[in-house]
Subunit: 319 residues, 2 copies
């Protein structure tokens, strides 16, 4: 059974390959939340998202002879960019299967890093099948986006650092797509009294429904601003780890995501993508069970197209 | 003669009153600059700008009986907000004279903090006269925006921290309005081999012209995006300190300011106001004398109206 030790080992292996991102606070947020919010700025991570942690860790753990045959992955965006970065770092070829509706800014960033991008369907099931077929044909190693021990341990380093930087937390809010970040958070929080909560877009709450059902549920993800948080199913390992540790689950609306994004920009001076603002959106409600005083909030990424930022600002200006 | 010891003393006095802001780097910037840029994020400071350092320090240094008669200041924006914050912290009344063309976002922030705002003219000379008359009438203590030893020592703590966080720097780029930040930087760099450079908007280069003339020159500041960097004259103490230490001066155009702001937003995920992006605009040219390898860049503030951000984004979208 993996635990905090795996996250600590990942942190030691990663060393300078990832950024020890800052933790900031913002008095305007604390006033709204009725708590001290400690914001872990993974939007300031290499590649603009926490995904660099898992990808650098997993690619670094491959045997060099295996890595030389190339790596392949599938992703809606940020994991793709992180794998492309890791491939460049370790000097191997990378092929990436992305959905046809991936934001152009994320696709272009992957190509700029030297990876080959192929667009396939709109669901994680479709792009995973394409990546597996490619791996079978070429011998490339698959770098899973979330359901993998090395990925989970790597993503857990974000929470490990947060606990080191901020001290003990009563609660921690984590955005959930496939569940890599939250599974890592659960491992990192082992032995602490931190209550870990999941946050998903309304209509894309595969983790919340799975936790409620006691087994992994397949959902048909509805439309959401949070393009990074809409897999049809969470990972198996991710679910098992979350089931043993998660204290509760929340969903957020597009209006709340846009509001949190805008507050981050104007009050905290940080550009955060909609998926990355999900945890703050819940914190700002000020309704966490038991009124925790010190609340960790993971800002998971900052890769957002300029026109979307403009749209959010324009909406604020009209309001 | 003030020196590094005054800045160290200010840092010890300030303690938790200001944020030890993070220093970040950004590979995309380093590639353009041909150097390692270390970005000191004063946009993440309390009140959204480095001005909190000097204001908290100067207000804290007042004798309590003096402070009880109230404080008064004059400013185009960020110093006003910082003084309002300090007044709230120390429980005294604050009156602030701002120009009629101050951005609404800055004026409203001052009022939200509980200070009284009065709009006077468009030049620092006009608002200074109004503040002095008010002080004479009421007995309030004037908190100077830049030409004051306690303000200079306070602003110097930004550079002191940067040197502690980033290690030795070959060069440091500092935006200059009245000269508080750069004078503090000069003091903090005492005893190091860091070359300190000033950055001003084209047409608002009171410091560069004064350094060239060997005496303080009055300018008629032209229009600029950088509303925080347009006093008609730098401070006397600021000039004397800069004259003894500054290695060179640069000016930047509005196009460069907008470009640097946009790069900070999209590549570094940071919202920085035009004045705050001035030093980066120079760094990105990659033309510093002697090709320094480790270059400090002070991002001095992040208080910018949503509609201006929208304008910069829209321009980028058209480009």
């Amino acid at each position: 059974v993996p635990g905090r030790a795996e996250v600590e080992a990942a942190s030691a292996r990663l060393g300078e390959l990832v950024v020890r991102t800052p933790v900031i606070d913002c008095p305007a947020f604390d006033a709204r939340a009725g708590a001290s919010l400690l914001l872990k700025c993974e939007n300031l991570q290499r590649g603009g998202a926490f995904k660099a942690r898992g990808a650098q860790h997993a690619v670094g753990r491959l045997v060099p002879g295996v890595r030389a045959r190339g790596i392949v992955t599938y992703s809606s965006g940020n994991h793709a960019q992180a794998v492309a970065l890791a491939a460049r770092r370790f000097g191997c070829r990378a092929d990436v299967f992305m959905p046809v509706d991936a934001p152009a800014i994320k696709r272009e960033a992957v190509e700029r890093l030297g990876a080959r991008v192929e667009l396939v369907g709109t669901t994680s099931t479709e792009r995973r099948a394409a990546a597996c077929a490619f791996a079978a044909r070429t011998g490339a190693a698959i770098i899973e986006p979330f359901d993998d021990p090395d990925i989970i341990a790597g993503q857990g380093t974000a929470t490990l650092e947060l606990l080191e930087q901020a001290g003990p937390l009563d609660a921690l809010l984590v955005p959930v797509g496939g569940g890599g970040l939250v599974a890592g958070a659960c491992l990192a929080c082992e032995g602490t009294s931190t209550a870990v909560y999941t946050v998903e877009p309304a209509g894309c709450d595969a983790m919340a429904r799975s936790l409620a059902a006691g087994r992994r549920v397949v959902v048909d993800p509805g439309p959401t601003l949070a393009d990074g948080l809409k897999p049809s199913q969470v990972g198996e390992r991710n679910f098992e780890i979350a089931r043993a540790r998660v204290a509760g689950s929340f969903t957020v609306t597009d209006d709340e995501l846009a509001g949190a994004m805008l507050a981050l920009l104007l009050d905290a001076k940080l550009l955060v993508e909609p998926s990355g603002a999900a945890a703050l959106a819940v914190a700002l409600r000020g309704e966490l069970p038991g009124s925790p005083q010190r609340v960790g909030v993971i800002l998971s990424g900052g890769n957002v197209a300029p026109e979307r930022v403009g749209g959010v600002l324009a909406a604020a200006h009209r309001a």
